[in-house]
């Protein structure tokens, strides 16, 4: 990367770190977004070429630059620096290297700052002291998982905790049940964190055991199922967790993140519940909000223009912490934007006017007899029984 762009990158990183820690007002976000988009269009060769192929000049209006599809993260040349400058690479889950996204980082400063600055206000707003139990392998055993990195980083900053899955992927269920027993006996609240499928496995293996966890206990679940367990709709999973663990429903939070992002969105409900606004929390179940440097938009898939609130479209995110990959990302997820009621917005950690509802995944239903790509790659096709 030319010296001019290296200096610009360093300047943007500092500006962003300052915004993450001191706050990022909407005007400042707009200015920083424009600068980062312009920088990436001109200094990141792959993104610049992508813009030109789409008929957009990299040096033009930064708000006219297109979102990069998450599929682009499967390519090694997305990282604009020399490979030797990478400090970490996170892979998406997947069955073959070809199908997995890889997110390469020149520094983890932005990601780590984003993790801490979002998580605490959204999930730990009451300042409770919790015993952390994480249903994933440790970062030593899974160094290329961005989710595990996030959990490890959070635990380092919030007093430690325990990983409950070994390197082979086996959940230490006896240890977890013992921890739940101990919490029930001691009255010290626990914090359970993990991917959705891990909680399904745990629930399926309990044989009817139940707990009444201490007040303030909470749970964070994230991610899809990826064929790793039976699929359970999110409301059903949350209901089962409430019934089994005796958790307060408002203290179960879902996270929306992916290896292609550096920042995370959270269900707004827990922050509101922790602030003592249970009624508002109920209204914002399944509604996600992100930090000021990671804003979402719901786009018309045909035109890539923003849809009016309430209409279903393709989710795009401007995650400025993706400084060394792509700040404007087109996901494979469908969603709807909704307004956040002003009375709820007033109790959220940042000024927020919109929240995101997840509506499913992009994908073509088999209309005919043409084979689908993933079927050809994996040998099994997606379409269901009929």
């Amino acid at each position: 990367m030319a010296a001019r762009w290296a200096a610009e990158r360093a300047r943007l990183e500092q500006a962003l770190l300052a915004g993450m820690t001191r706050g990022l007002a909407p005007e400042a976000w707009r200015a920083l977004t424009a600068q980062i988009m312009t920088y990436q269009a001109q200094a990141h060769p792959l993104y610049g070429r992508y813009c030109r192929h789409g008929g957009v000049e990299p040096g033009g209006d930064p708000w006219g630059l297109p979102p990069l599809p998450v599929e682009a993260f499967k390519r090694a040349d997305l990282f604009p620096h020399d490979a030797s400058e990478a400090v970490a690479t996170f892979f998406s889950s997947g069955t073959t290297a070809e199908q997995r996204s890889r997110h390469v980082f020149k520094t983890l400063a932005l990601m780590d700052t984003a993790i801490l600055a979002t998580f605490a206000p959204m999930v730990l707003g009451d300042g409770a002291e919790l015993s952390w139990w994480v249903l994933t392998p440790s970062d030593a055993d899974a160094p290329h998982s961005s989710l595990v990195h996030m959990f490890a980083h959070l635990m380092r900053h919030h007093g430690g905790g325990h990983f409950l899955v070994d390197a082979a992927g086996n959940l230490d269920a006896p240890r977890l049940t013992a921890a739940l027993d101990a919490a029930e006996a001691s009255g010290r609240p626990v914090f359970l964190l993990g991917p959705s499928f891990a909680f399904v496995h745990f629930l399926d293996g309990l044989g009817g055991r139940r707990w009444r966890l201490p007040a303030g206990s909470r749970l964070l679940e994230t991610g899809g199922y990826k064929g790793l367990s039976r699929q359970v709709p999110r409301p059903d999973l949350h209901a089962a967790l409430v019934a089994t663990l005796g958790l307060e429903a408002a203290l179960i939070v879902a996270e929306y993140g992916m290896s292609e992002l550096s920042s995370q969105l959270y269900e707004a409900s827990m922050a509101l519940a922790l602030a003592g606004h249970g009624d508002l929390a109920l209204a914002l179940r399944d509604r996600f909000v992100g930090p000021p440097w990671c804003r979402f938009a719901v786009l018309d898939p045909d035109s890539l223009t923003e849809l009016p609130w309430g209409e279903e479209g393709q989710i795009a995110l401007r995650d400025l912490a993706n400084l060394d990959s792509a700040a404007y990302v087109l996901t494979g997820d469908l969603g709807r934007c909704h307004p956040v009621p002003p009375e709820a917005a007033a109790h959220l950690p940042w000024p927020v006017d919109a929240c995101l509802q997840l509506c499913g995944r992009a994908g073509a239903v088999a209309k005919g007899c043409s084979i689908a790509l993933d079927a050809m790659l994996s040998g099994a096709e997606r379409s269901l029984w009929m």
Binding site: Y50, L330, L334, E381
Partner: protein
């Protein structure tokens, strides 16, 4: 229609289950006797009348449900009318059921269970009716999206070919109803499944050892433009037709175009396709409805292609992606999105197509011919049809579907010593 049951000439019966199964089997038994009592020429005449009725019917409602335009569906039924001519059907029967051998006689099943999980609608109807023409009654289960069309088809069948109507029984049950699926599978002495590998595997588990099981899985096709002659507007128009019919969701739809030339040639052909060849065909055959998930899938595919390719978009939305170099054949996202890859020559093409093994189905060509050696190489990848551009989606009755045929795989042979 949400009830579980089956529909025959006598109306709906519910549930399918054990009692319904007995009724369906009884109805098929009666239908088989009735078909056997018909002279083959009478059956051929009924098929021709049916084809004419299908060609003349209004398919707007069925098209909406199965996700294609009414014009495309009408074209497909027009193709059935073109194919189902007495001479062509006689040749088809002679090819697939040769009766002349002194020592062997073909024996067809007495009852057929037909699963249309995912297929192009007229192909599903042809797959249903050819066994009936040969004297075999069929119990059909169609995917939910095909159900309205199949109901409409049965009405046309009853009106235009009443003698054949009792031989087609339409089963209906939700995909979660495994008991009905098992009952349906047991109703035939042969099971035919048109669908994904997963659907095929699920029905195969229900097949019993004595049953013939014939799977038609999902497959992939491609187009090739050679340089002798150079692509003309007429050739590109033919390719555009192949792309537009069934919105690229058929196993005979081109998923990629390879052309002899370089990156500049690929871009020029892409431009001509998008700006000249496609617009009139898009006007004639509008793209079928796509839901948000399918539109997002299509958008992601196109945007991802822009990392390497230039996009040329036709007025109706068809998108041609000109790549600087060739890639192995993989499925497009469908809905008329066609990658164009330059290759040096046919020898350069072969490995790109072979990458799709064993799913390769058809190669549409212009401006070149395959040598027997190259053809032999591609047949190892599954190729079973080579045709001119403009004909990819219009296979003649004589095409042996998936390389195995329609009736031939159902046959048991009787040896006469």
């Amino acid at each position: 229609m949400d009830v579980t049951g089956f529909f025959s000439g006598a109306g709906w019966h519910a549930p399918l289950g054990e009692a319904g199964l007995a009724q369906a089997v009884q109805a098929m038994y009666q239908a088989r006797l009735a078909l056997a009592a018909m002279d083959i020429e009478a059956r051929l005449a009924a098929m021709t009348q049916l084809a004419a009725g299908l060609g003349a019917s209004d398919w707007a409602a069925g098209a909406e449900a199965c996700g294609c335009s009414a014009a495309t569906l009408a074209f497909g039924f027009g193709e059935l009318e073109r194919c189902w001519q007495p001479d062509a059907m006689r040749r088809f029967l002679a090819t697939e059921l040769p009766q002349e051998h002194p020592h062997w006689r073909p024996l067809l099943p007495q009852r057929l269970a037909m699963v249309l999980a995912a297929t192009v609608p007229p192909a599903g109807i042809q797959a249903t009716m050819l066994p009936v023409m040969a004297g075999v009654p069929v119990l059909v289960r169609a995917a939910a999206r095909l159900q309205p069309l199949m109901r409409a088809f049965l009405e046309v069948l009853a009106r235009c070919a009443p003698a054949l109507a009792p031989a087609v029984i339409l089963a209906h049950f939700p995909s979660s109803d495994l008991d009905s699926a098992a009952a349906m599978a047991a109703a035939g002495d042969a099971i035919v499944v048109h669908g994904s590998a997963r659907a095929v595997a699920q029905w195969q588990r229900l097949a019993r050892p004595h049953q013939i099981f014939v799977p038609y899985g999902h497959r992939i096709s491609a187009a090739y433009l050679g340089a002798d002659p150079e692509p003309t507007p007429a050739i590109l128009s033919d390719l555009a037709l192949d792309l537009c019919l069934w919105d690229q969701y058929g196993c005979l739809s081109p998923q990629a175009l390879y052309l002899q030339g370089d990156a500049k040639d690929a871009a020029e052909v892409a431009r001509q396709l998008a700006h000249h060849a496609l617009p009139p065909l898009e006007a004639r055959f509008p793209l079928g409805p796509l839901d948000a998930a399918a539109r997002a899938h299509r958008r992601s595919y196109i945007q991802n292609a822009l990392l390497d390719a230039h996009a040329f978009t036709a007025p109706g939305g068809a998108t041609i992606l000109a790549y600087p170099s060739a890639q192995p054949l993989t499925p497009s996202c469908g809905a008329r999105v066609l990658p164009v890859y330059p290759v040096a020559d046919l020898d350069d093409l072969i490995p790109h197509l072979s990458a799709a093994a064993p799913h390769l189905q058809c190669l549409g060509m212009a401006g070149a011919t395959l040598t027997p050696q190259r053809l032999a190489t591609l047949t190892l990848a599954g190729l079973n049809r080579v045709c001119p551009l403009g004909h990819m989606q219009r296979p003649p009755l004589s095409w042996r579907h998936d390389g195995i045929g329609t009736l031939a795989p159902l046959v048991r042979w009787v040896s006469l010593a």
